[in-house]
């Protein structure tokens, strides 16, 4: 467990056998979105090369309060990272506000589409 603190965003990282789970609590917005991207980058970089293969990143949104367009931009960045690293991305326990934002902007399918093996490095949406 690696907690990191921000006035309005709390990230809790949980490492499982083949997955990283990041619980996002608070506001994912203009002020805080970089924090999430940094944390995910650090976790991906830290995954041991010689251990079990990393297959998926789960973002848990049960504690998410507000999300704005910069928050969505951060999720799109993370999707590019996980595609490049050939691992799956899963957005879990999406509250209505996030669901609505993903639907209106037309990004829901792109962000939640299963990763296609053999297309690592392609941009999200290029399926």
């Amino acid at each position: 467990m690696t907690p990191s603190h921000n006035p309005s965003l709390t990230l809790t990282v949980e490492i499982q056998r083949n997955t990283i789970v990041v619980h996002v609590t608070g506001d994912l917005d203009y002020e805080t979105c970089d924090e999430l991207v940094r944390t995910v980058d650090a976790q991906l970089a830290r995954w041991p090369q010689d251990g079990p293969r990393l297959t998926a990143l789960h973002l848990g949104f049960a504690g998410l309060r507000d999300v704005d367009s910069m928050g969505l931009s951060a999720l799109l960045t993370i999707r590019r990272r996980t595609d490049a690293a050939a691992i799956g991305l899963s957005l879990d326990e999406r509250p209505p506000a996030l669901q609505r934002l993903l639907e209106i902007t037309g990004s829901l399918e792109h962000l939640t589409a299963p990763r296609e093996d053999g297309h690592a490095g392609e941009q999200p949406g290029a399926v």
Binding site: Y30, D68, M70, L72, S73, T77, I104, T105
Partner: protein, 569 residues
């Protein structure tokens, strides 16, 4: 009081004690007295002001003094007067109670401590305090300078206005460092702005078109090179503009110092003293440089601020939303509220591109760029320009959106924009629209009977995905009906009675239901007023709305009897 004095005398302070011992020594043979070998000058004088004895150190201090000399002739006046006062006032028992007499002897400075001896004689112990005085003087002047620099910094930093800073620099320098001071700003093509302050404290601004080389060292100082030593500058060579009015006499000495800025020189400072004042010492020149460093930093900061403000103002003019009005028989109204009072531009925008004639469609664009402030505003500008270039293709919203998407997409970030496009044309009394949302909340239609409908359009945001899709809704507005395009900020505004509730789409719809039959301007104002009331003083994102309304006065132009005859008062 008197008692206290006597007791103090009994406590035998050193000078008294010593003198008593000396008076007990054989007279007329000072050199064998206990103080004969004392390292400080000692002399004994009688009540009539005649020298009785002096030791070797004192003898070297007062050449020509010997037994029987009149004190008036051999010692400085201040010492003679101190002796006169002390000897003629027997009440003055204890000299330790008062400040000892002091003054210069030759090139050094002494304190004189008297002690009574027998027969009305007084023994004077002279203590050299030259070094202590010099140290005290240095300390005092250092303190004054530190206090001055602190005061100067406070004054200089109080303003972010370049001219005020130049003025403060000239005034402070004229008051504290010289008789008059002149600041010279780096010149653009239009000469050097010059600020001068004379002894009266009155500040003058001029622009000097002449050559800065006229003042020795000024060209170098303006380029930030180290100052030319004061003694190498000929005061007679100064041009008129460099000498403020009101100086008591001709200029006697000059210091030219650079005003160092952040990276680039902020200008130069010229200090002037009149002939009758002493010239600038090396120490004073160093101090002038310290002052110039502070002044330069302040001026430089003010100048950078002014530049930034000018740049921002220029950008703002480009990025501010346009003022909307009726076009080809259709009403348009828009409102924009940036997320912060301090910002005038941000991530939301709208534009109306009128058709060349009433037979061509007018394109309305409303957009929301992710992010805030200038960064978002720049991306906004890019999208608005791209859309303008794509106007000839506006008949096909999907291809316009595809091209905008292609122009924005890049591999290094995932910044995106959501857009709503509306192509508007008036046909008789009705207004026809093609409306396309690209990642935007669906526009709302306010029908004449108060129903509020969502336009049936949706699509992908632009700027991130290589492929995007969207659907276009084809709509008609009867007179008095409105199509409202709005950004997320409206429905995402948090506020309400508990300050934490979203305004939400339902509240917006309810608010719009009251707007049936209203002109475009009134619909926009109503929507804006309600959201602002909802937010109160709280935090919100950028908000923008545009209303497209079919006007009631359609019968004025549509005289063919096809008007629907429904009017509100």
């Amino acid at each position: 009081m008197r008692q206290r004095r006597e007791r103090a005398a009994d406590a035998s302070p050193l000078p008294v004690d010593t003198s008593r011992r000396s008076s007990a020594a054989p007279r007329g043979n000072g050199h064998s007295a206990a103080w004969g070998d004392a390292p400080c000058p000692v002399m004994v004088a009688d009540g009539r002001g005649r020298l009785v004895e002096l030791n070797a150190v004192a003898a070297s201090l007062f050449p020509g003094a010997e037994h029987g000399s009149s004190l008036r002739d051999v010692v400085p006046t201040w010492l003679f007067e101190a002796h006169d006062r002390f000897a003629s006032d027997p009440a003055e028992q204890h000299p330790g109670d008062r400040t000892p007499a002091s003054g210069p002897i030759g090139e050094r400075s002494f304190e004189a401590h008297p002690a009574r001896s027998g027969h009305g004689q007084v023994v004077w112990w002279l203590v050299d305090d030259t070094d202590r005085r010099a140290a005290e003087e240095a300390l005092r002047s250092e303190r004054e300078r530190t206090a001055f620099l602190a005061r100067a910094s406070t004054t200089l930093l109080a303003s972010m206005h370049v001219e005020t800073c130049m003025e403060a620099t000239a005034r402070l320098a004229a008051e504290h460092l010289a008789d008059a001071a002149v600041t010279v700003a780096p010149g653009g093509g239009r000469g050097h702005p010059v600020t001068s302050c004379g002894p009266s404290g009155e500040v003058m601004h001029t622009t000097v078109r002449g050559n800065p080389e006229e003042v020795p060292g000024l060209a170098e100082a303006l380029r930030g090179f180290p100052p030319v030593p004061s003694r190498r500058i000929d005061p007679g060579a100064l041009p008129d503009w460099a000498v403020p009015e009101g100086l008591a006499g001709p200029v006697g000495s000059v210091v030219v110092s650079p005003l160092p800025g952040h990276g680039v020189p902020a200008g130069a400072l010229i200090l002037l003293r009149t002939e009758d004042r002493r010239t600038f010492s090396e120490n004073e020149e160093v101090f002038a440089r310290l002052f110039a460093a502070r002044a330069g930093a302040a001026i430089s900061a003010a100048r950078m601020y002014a530049d930034l403000t000018a740049i921002t103002a220029t950008l703002m003019r480009e990025l501010l939303p346009p003022r909307l009005r009726g076009v080809h028989g259709v009403e348009f109204a828009g409102a924009y509220r940036p997320y912060s009072q301090d910002e005038r531009v941000g991530g939301d925008f709208y534009d109306v591109h009128p058709g060349a004639t009433g037979e061509e469609e007018t394109l309305v664009v409303l957009g929301d760029v992710c992010g805030k402030g200038l960064e978002a505003a720049v991306l906004t500008g890019k999208i608005r320009n791209t859309l303008q270039a794509l106007l000839p293709l506006a008949a096909d919203h999907q291809s316009v959106l595809g091209l905008v998407n292609g122009a924005l997409i890049n591999s290094h970030d995932t910044r995106f924009a959501t857009l709503a496009l509306a192509s508007v044309i008036r046909r008789g009394g009705t207004v026809r629209l093609r409306v396309t949302s690209a990642g935007h909340p669906a526009p709302l239609l306010v029908r004449a009977d108060g129903r509020v409908e969502e336009a049936d359009t949706r699509g992908t945001m632009v700027g991130v995905f290589p492929e995007i899709t969207s659907t276009t809704a084809h709509l008609e507005l009867a007179p008095g009906e409105t199509c409202l395009l709005f950004t997320d900020g409206i429905i995402e505004a948090r506020g309400g009675p508990w300050g934490d509730e979203l305004f939400g789409a339902d509240r917006l719809k309810a608010a719009l239901a009251e707007c049936a039959g209203m002109p475009a301007e009134a619909v926009v104002e109503h929507a804006q007023m309600l959201t602002e009331q909802w937010i109160g003083g709280g935090h919100h994102d950028d908000m923008a709305v545009v209303a497209v309304t079919a006007p009631h006065h359609a019968h004025l132009t549509a005289v063919d009897g096809r008007t629907r005859g429904r009017y509100t008062a």
